[in-house]
């Protein structure tokens, strides 16, 4: 790789033909990071390689979030028992093609990847009490049927609107297709007012699909408790703030709220939940 792009493999995992699960930090509703952290913890997945940040991320300084210095990370994990690879990373700021090529190269150096799945959230104008729908985008028709069997919406239609650009996960799926690796982007609806927070219910929804696909035997009690706690807190807020009550009730009834109302709702929920985090 050019421009100082490097990676490091600490150990070579013994895997058959694993599937690779990919998630990104700073995703909508904390989908990528929260789901993968859950998966890594529950499966006791072990870190075995990393992509070094030089050339992919701006290293002119470090961001501080919630009073803590952050640093980009791009790590590979494996779980031999389930024949699974996991890649958990920040989205690169530059050299996207080289980064994703390196991702597939590192995974390919240790084993032959059979399938690839990415996890991500879609901001949705829905209430937090509504079920989270998962939609898939596949790079090979043969994956549509199994996805449909897990209750995934497999009929998505989409054209990039003017001013927007395709996601990193879409680019990865396309690159995987060029290497004849079949895969799917899994997109979960996240209520817009939870987009900047965490949505444990959405995490559970997408993880339950991976659970069934790979027979992982995951216990979701932790995410269920977090969902209940979040719902309780929002219920308290609804009681305290008549506007919040009205907006959420409207959303539950399928009535659109204005941009100004949406912004007010998102701000109030964020402030309330963050104070009690």
């Amino acid at each position: 790789m050019s421009q100082g792009h490097t990676f490091k493999i600490y150990e070579t995992p013994r895997l058959q033909t694993p599937c690779l699960v990919v998630g990104w930090n700073q995703d909508v509703g904390g989908l990528g990071s929260k789901s993968l952290e859950f998966l890594i913890k529950k499966l006791n997945a072990r870190e075995f390689a990393k992509i070094n940040p030089a050339g992919f991320f701006s290293l002119s300084g470090v961001p501080v979030e919630e009073n803590v210095i952050q640093f980009p990370q791009s790590k590979f994990y494996f779980c031999a028992e389930n024949d699974l690879l996991i890649f958990h990373s920040n989205g690169p700021g530059q050299s996207h093609y080289e980064f994703l090529t390196m991702l597939l190269d590192v995974a390919g150096q240790t084993c032959t990847v059979k399938e690839i799945y990415t996890i991500g959230g879609i901001i949705s104008l829905m209430a937090h009490t509504s079920p989270r729908r998962v939609s898939s985008v596949v790079n090979n028709r043969q994956l549509k049927q199994p996805m449909a069997e897990y209750g995934v919406n497999t009929n998505l239609e989409y054209e990039t609107p003017i001013g927007a650009r395709p996601t990193l996960s879409s680019l990865l799926l396309w690159l995987a297709q060029k290497r004849n690796i079949i895969g799917a982007n899994l997109w979960v609806d996240v209520p817009f007012y939870l987009a900047a927070l965490e949505d444990p219910r959405a995490c559970k929804q997408v993880l339950s699909i991976l659970d069934r696909r790979f027979n992982l035997g995951l216990n979701f009690a932790e995410l269920e408790q977090q969902t209940e706690q979040q719902n309780r807190l929002i219920a308290v807020l609804k009681e305290q703030e008549s506007d919040v009550h009205r907006y959420i009730t409207m959303l539950e009834r399928g009535i659109m709220i204005s941009e100004k109302e949406s912004e007010a709702l998102a701000n109030k929920v964020a402030e309330f939940l963050q104070k009690r985090a």
Binding site: K144, N153, L156, R165, P166, S170, L171, Q177
Partner: protein, 298 residues
């Protein structure tokens, strides 16, 4: 062959000249190149595989299946004319990464040199204190001292150092300049042709075909081409009408200041009508503030 270049065919050309452009201010270079390609009916023969240089700009999903990712296209064209053979390169996007820009410049020259290229021209914008009603000049910047005399003989063209209020030093940003630097490094003569765009228009994402026309006039004369630029005139007229409409919404005070620019279009004209750098800054601030307020006066 370089694996980053995808050839559809390999034309046999006789010492061609290369004319290249990437998108930039007022789309001046790109409009000039696209017009030239259309007028000459130049044929595509190769492209640079885009994925290393550009992020995709569009995605299409149908029935839950990834159909395609669309990247900006960067293509080579050729045309054998009565006077000389020509190569055209139209870049879809300037790479944001400087090293990738350098790499792309080398790739373009590699293709051109393999076909026996003798000279390179690039087309871009020169942000200038001119009025939109005047004919834009072309700033010509060669990559070798021995081309200065030739450039001085071009019609409606100035050297950087001959422009009032400017020195002979400056910077040409982006690949339209870098390509000629790399060409110089590789011993290939070249000239950057920069069409003037009014300073108060340059900041808005509007095309400025009038300057593209000025560039094409210089190129046509230099390359011995006979081309009909009436279509470009029509485009320029349309753009100018839109600019005029906006112009009359601008407060009188700002308009008067901009009107002074009508008198700075020629290096040999009297100095009475010129504006100072301070005036230029003030005009820009006022125009900017005006449009920030949605084009409404206080």
């Amino acid at each position: 062959m370089n694996e980053v270049i995808k050839y559809y065919q390999e034309p046999k050309l006789n010492k061609p000249d290369l004319v290249a452009a990437w998108p930039g201010i007022g789309s001046i270079g790109i409009i000039a190149l696209n017009s030239l390609r259309e007028l000459l009916e130049a044929e595509a023969f190769a492209e640079i595989e885009p994925w290393r240089f550009s992020y995709p700009h569009a995605l299409s999903i149908k029935d839950g299946e990834l159909q395609s990712l669309q990247f900006p296209e960067s293509k080579f064209y050729f045309k054998k004319t009565a006077t000389r053979d020509l190569l055209l390169f139209i870049g879809g996007e300037q790479p944001t990464d400087v090293m990738k820009g350098y790499e792309m410049a080398n790739l373009v020259l590699e293709v051109a040199l393999n076909l026996g290229c003798q000279r390179v021209y690039t087309a871009a914008a020169a942000v200038a204190p001119i009025h939109h009603s005047v004919r834009p000049r072309v700033w010509a910047v060669p990559n070798r001292r021995d081309l200065l005399a030739e450039v001085r003989s071009y019609h409606n063209t100035v050297l950087m150092g001959d422009i009032e209020g400017r020195s002979s030093q400056g910077t040409i940003t982006g690949l339209n300049g870098l390509l000629l630097g790399v060409a110089r490094e590789r011993g290939l003569p070249g000239i950057c042709l920069l069409g003037e765009i009014p300073v108060y228009i340059a900041q808005f994402p509007v095309p400025y075909p009038k300057a593209s026309k000025s560039i094409l006039e210089v190129l046509a004369a230099n390359l011995g081409l006979t081309i009909n630029l009436s279509k470009l005139d029509e485009q320029a007229q349309e753009v100018e009408q839109n600019i005029e409409r906006l112009y009359h919404l601008i407060p009188e005070e700002i308009r008067q200041r901009i009107d002074q620019l009508k008198h700075v279009s020629n290096i040999n004209e009297e100095k009475s009508g010129t504006i100072t750098e301070e005036d230029e800054k003030r005009i820009m601030q006022q125009v900017e503030e005006f449009f920030k307020k949605g084009g409404k006066q206080d």
